[in-house]
């Protein structure tokens, strides 16, 4: 009996594992571009193995792609409706870009439906509701990114913020092709990858740049670059490697593993982080700005001001104490009493 159940289970599992292979029934993918620079799709084109051609023929059924699809206008938007109606629960939705919510989402229109503008907000909500997986490609879609930076003129939000369901975040500005390709492959072959607290695949975002950095020993030994272009540790010119989780140092850009920002003698700017870019700016300073109502300054400046005030306060008080004879009095009293200090001093003499 038990054997039979196992057999049945296997029967169900095996085709699933092998599903995308042999060029048949590749999972449908909808790639939606919202408020984006298109950098993530362009970055995916940089994938070497598999390349774009093999991606199309072997891995996925690329039903909708705002950047490279042949269809335009209502024909393109029609694909979205068609896929939602025909393949609910089967397609993978990849969103690239942040979702503006100002004026009901009219700050980003991705097409038209029944003669009315179809906003990115509406499209993501509808498509996201019946997708098998939702993947946020790039930092904008995952966390908001540069277009949601203060003062966020279009009230842009991450995909997760406008969807009830779980979104798999694959951040990066742009996303490294391997990260996205790897996530897609994992979803197709093995299901959802292991995710961290921010719903990023641990496979790629499990360790800090700093801990993986080739120049870590320069850091430990305090050999620091003074300006961009110096071949040492970038810590002192604002490297965000210690607070950024990604495997850039190991993997390197793009798919030929040639270089990465620190190898190019520039600081990591933390482009995969949820705080990017606001929390990581200024890029060439260690600490972000301090923003208080009506005032904006650097953390260093606050440190300096506090230091100066403390020094002035102490020296002012000390001068006051000397002038008013308070300090000499205290000292005299301390030494003239029958305390230990006096004895000690005597002994020393």
């Amino acid at each position: 009996m038990q054997g039979k159940t196992n057999h049945k289970l296997l029967e169900q599992l095996i085709p699933r594992l092998l599903k995308p292979r042999a060029g048949e029934s590749r999972p449908p993918v909808i790639w939606l571009g919202t408020n984006t620079c298109a950098g993530d799709m362009l970055s995916l084109l940089n994938s070497l193995d598999p390349g774009y051609r093999s991606l199309l023929t072997d891995l996925i059924d690329f039903r909708y792609n705002y950047l490279l699809g042949t269809a335009e206008g209502d024909m393109a938007t029609g694909i979205l409706d068609e896929t939602m109606a025909e393949l609910p629960g089967e397609y993978i939705l990849v969103v690239e870009g942040t979702i503006p919510t100002r004026s009901n989402g009219l700050y980003c229109v991705i097409g038209r439906r029944n003669g009315e503008p179809l906003t990115a907000l509406q499209a993501v909500r509808e498509l996201g509701a019946s997708a098998r997986y939702v993947v946020a490609a790039g930092t904008c879609a995952a966390f908001g990114g540069p277009y949601a930076a203060a003062p966020n003129p279009s009230d842009s939000k991450s995909v997760q913020a406008v969807l009830e369901r779980r979104v798999i975040n694959v951040p990066g500005c742009p996303v490294l092709p391997d990260w996205l390709m790897g996530t897609l492959a994992h979803l197709i072959r093995y299901g959802e990858p292991e995710l961290d607290d921010l719903n990023r695949p641990k496979l790629f975002y499990g360790e800090t740049i700093h801990n993986l950095c080739q120049r870590r020993h320069y850091f430990d030994n305090s050999i620091f670059a003074k300006k961009p272009g110096d071949p040492w540790c970038m810590y002192k010119i604002g490297c965000k490697g210690p607070v950024t989780f990604a495997d850039c140092p190991y993997r390197q850009w793009n798919s030929e593993h040639l270089s990465w920002p620190v190898k190019a003698n520039t600081p990591c700017i933390g482009c995969v982080s949820p705080e990017f870019p606001d929390g990581d700016m200024p890029f060439f300073e260690h600490l972000p700005d301090v923003k208080l109502p009506g005032i904006r300054t650097t953390a260093d400046r606050i440190g300096t001001i506090t230091g100066v005030i403390t020094a002035l306060g102490i020296s002012g008080h000390m001068i006051g104490s000397i002038v008013t004879n308070r300090l000499p009095h205290t000292l005299k009293k301390g030494f003239s009493g029958n305390g230990m200090l006096q004895k000690l001093l005597k002994k020393l003499r």
Binding site: D196, D197, L198, G206, E207, T208, F219, D220, N221, S222, F224, Y235, K236, K240, P242, V243, T244, F245, G270, S273, P274, E275, D278, G279, D280, H286, L287, P288, V290, A299, D300, I302, G303, T306, G307, I309, T310, A311, G313, I314, H317, M318, G320, S321, V323, T324, R326, L327, T330, L331, K333, G334, F335, G337, N338, G339, M340, L341
Partner: protein, 199 residues
């Protein structure tokens, strides 16, 4: 035993019982080491007494463990011996604040008498008690970053968390400088008591 000890050092009044002194001398060096190594870590320079990041970071981590344990012990002691009342400012302190400030600003030469601590001391010690948990939480966030990514988003992310840690440490450093200055200049008897316990 107690009286013998007091005879031996010829003190008059027990001001700091041994747990206070023991804990003071465990967290005081930890705070100082934490400040110096911390400033080195945020802006590496020999001015802070370190020559490389590795030793500064290790110092910082040791200081962190000492500080966390002695802080927790101090909180427990304050609670069990009920001596937190000596530290937290109360209504009387607010009432007597002008008097205290007048003296400290040299507007009067009459030194006001206070129970154990004056209002200034109380404010400083309470601030320490409040700021050190901030340092512990933000510091741990930066120490075990992996587990702290999500809670860190409350502060805006890990890098903004660095900023909080820095700002809190700047405040602690300023308070510590003031504390050391007054300890050295206000009354040598009281200064002695943190070593011997007796005034």
């Amino acid at each position: 035993m107690k009286s013998l000890l007091s005879l031996l050092i010829k003190g008059k009044k027990l001001r700091h019982p041994w747990p206070t002194r023991l804990l003071h001398w465990s967290y005081a060096p930890a705070v100082l080491a934490g400040i110096l190594s911390g400033f080195y870590i945020t802006r590496p320079s020999r001015v802070h007494g370190f020559t490389n990041m590795d030793s500064a970071r290790k110092t910082h981590f040791i200081a962190q463990y000492v500080l966390i344990s002695s802080y927790l012990a101090r909180v427990y002691y304050a609670y069990s011996a009920k001596n937190y009342r000596e530290i937290i400012p109360d209504l009387k302190d607010i009432v007597r604040m002008p008097e205290f400030l007048k003296y400290q600003l040299f507007l009067t030469s009459k030194k006001p008498k206070f129970p154990k601590y004056n209002p200034g001391q109380k404010i400083v010690y309470t601030s320490f008690a409040l700021l050190i948990p901030v340092q512990i939480v933000t510091g741990l966030g930066l120490y075990v970053t992996k587990r702290f990514q999500k809670p860190a988003t409350l502060a805006g992310g890990l890098n903004p968390l660095r900023k909080l840690h820095y700002l809190a440490s700047v405040s602690i450093s300023a308070l510590a400088a003031g504390h050391i200055y007054f300890a050295l200049t206000d009354s040598l008897k009281k200064l002695k008591s943190i070593f011997t316990g007796y005034k």
